[in-house]
Symmetry: C2
Subunit: 291 residues, 2 copies
């Protein structure tokens, strides 16, 4: 089955299986979204495509849910979203995930851990939120924070940090062997684009609540964060749980890319509508009798 966005996005950031230097990637590219002549399609075409495929994604999600419900299919999807502040994780989720039936979507934002969560291993709170069969799980930030901010801010000693990569690989392997398709996405913005977006937040009183001084703290450590991302992706990019680096300086493209990754993922399951588990004629008779 063809997966054009999967393929184009892998090609964008990986060469012969090795991750390119994240800081050298062009965050304004639009992998997979070209005309037949190879020309980049623009914003208008991207938004149109996003809109056009809203129903398609909703239907595919319903197929997954229906098969888990009525045919005991033991499959689920987990979308892990990472990215620096302002990279658009929240708005991408609203635009892409919001069009699906919330009944079959389990969306969680992982913030600073609570006191209780800190008294458990770092995967404890994550495991509790993994999707049920038939569900699409969406993580807005995730267990990767425990090797990103934790590395940069030295919240965890180096030896324990090193062990975490192995724990993550093991955890994701378990998910996959239990029927979950794991799609890991880094919304990758450039340092310049982040400046523009933070600057707009400071200019606009409607956006002040979204700004915290810690956004600038993190920005001042941009290089360290890029290094931590580089390392995290290299250590945890596995065939069963691959990373997709999505160039995210163009918001419309980032949304489209996430939508298409989900569509291609769900289509790979090749699901059809489950057959009735009841006698249709018998139920029709009962229904007519109750008219």
């Amino acid at each position: 089955m063809k997966q054009p966005f999967h393929e184009a996005l892998r090609k964008f950031a990986f060469q012969d299986g090795a991750l390119s230097d994240l800081t050298t990637l062009d965050c304004r590219q639009t992998p997979g979204f070209f005309t037949k002549k190879g020309e980049t399609k623009g914003k208008a075409a991207g938004q149109k495509r996003l809109q056009r495929d809203v129903e398609r994604l909703a239907k595919l999600q319903e197929l997954l849910f229906a098969n888990a419900q009525a045919a005991e299919l033991r499959r689920s999807v987990l979308l892990v979203m990472q990215g620096m502040d302002t990279s658009g994780k929240g708005s991408t989720i609203t635009h892409v995930v919001g069009s699906m039936n919330p009944q079959g979507v389990h969306q969680v934002g992982f913030k600073k851990p609570t006191e209780e969560e800190l008294r458990h291993d770092f995967l404890w709170r994550i495991r509790r939120e993994t999707p049920k069969h038939g569900e699409i799980g969406v993580f807005d930030r995730s267990h990767y924070e425990d090797v990103l901010i934790h590395r940069v801010e030295e919240l965890t000693p180096p030896s324990r940090l090193e062990r975490r990569y192995g724990s993550i690989r093991q955890f994701e392997k378990e998910l996959v062997s239990n029927g979950t398709i794991v799609v890991k996405v880094l919304l990758h913005i450039s340092r310049e684009e982040q400046y523009e977006r933070l600057s707009k937040r400071l200019d606009n009183p409607e956006k002040h609540w979204k700004f915290t001084p810690s956004d600038v703290d993190a920005r001042e450590k941009w290089d360290e964060y890029m290094e931590a991302h580089q390392l995290a992706l290299e250590e945890t990019d596995k065939p069963e749980a691959p990373w997709f680096v999505i160039p995210a300086d163009r918001k419309w493209y980032a949304r489209l890319a996430v939508q298409q990754l989900l569509i291609e993922t769900l289509e790979s399951l090749e699901l059809s509508w489950p057959e009735a588990t009841f006698d249709i004629e018998e139920q029709r008779k009962r229904l007519e009798a109750s008219r």
Copy 2:
């Protein structure tokens, strides 16, 4: 502050504070949605209005979330959705709730209670899912099932059923005094419309998974269910936690009505964007320095 849909919907089902006989209400009406001349507006106008107000609702929800986050506002909203099978609870939630940022929405579907839930009082699982400050909670079915199906199917002895109305009133009163606005909605379809919708599900193989023979079981007890609804609404309709009966034979109207109830509810809070909790000029200087 004007709340035209609130007012029209109350007028639709209540006279001098008393609930009309639910079985006499016309489920094809469109309370609150008229031209200036008093003519009913149709489907096209309704869908246009729904679409037009998507952004408005999303912004109001963001205002609530922002004020809880940055200004410690202790307010939330709880939308309770009830209705017979096929009344459109799920699709209304997808269309109305899906356009808001899932970060600030807590949506829960209450199904048949688990073994563990049954070992607690009936409000135990409900209390755990009430919205945090700044959140909009959405209940797809709710604690009302414990006085609806429980009454009709005699799952609970009569004396205990009677006590539940009081427990519900008390529970909702607590919610309100803790800053939650409680909006209770009954999507009210006619017996004829349910026949049409169930019949379509039987005709369409893509919908078979949504059908269970128990849908017809419940339909065969339509009158008992209407009685149970009548009683539940009468016992729990309070000024602080009122019921809205939404005529739902026209799907587009039901969606619009729920959207407008939410918009009017959020507007009644008269929120403005919270002021910055940091020194804007100082942060601008830091941002410029990190350019």
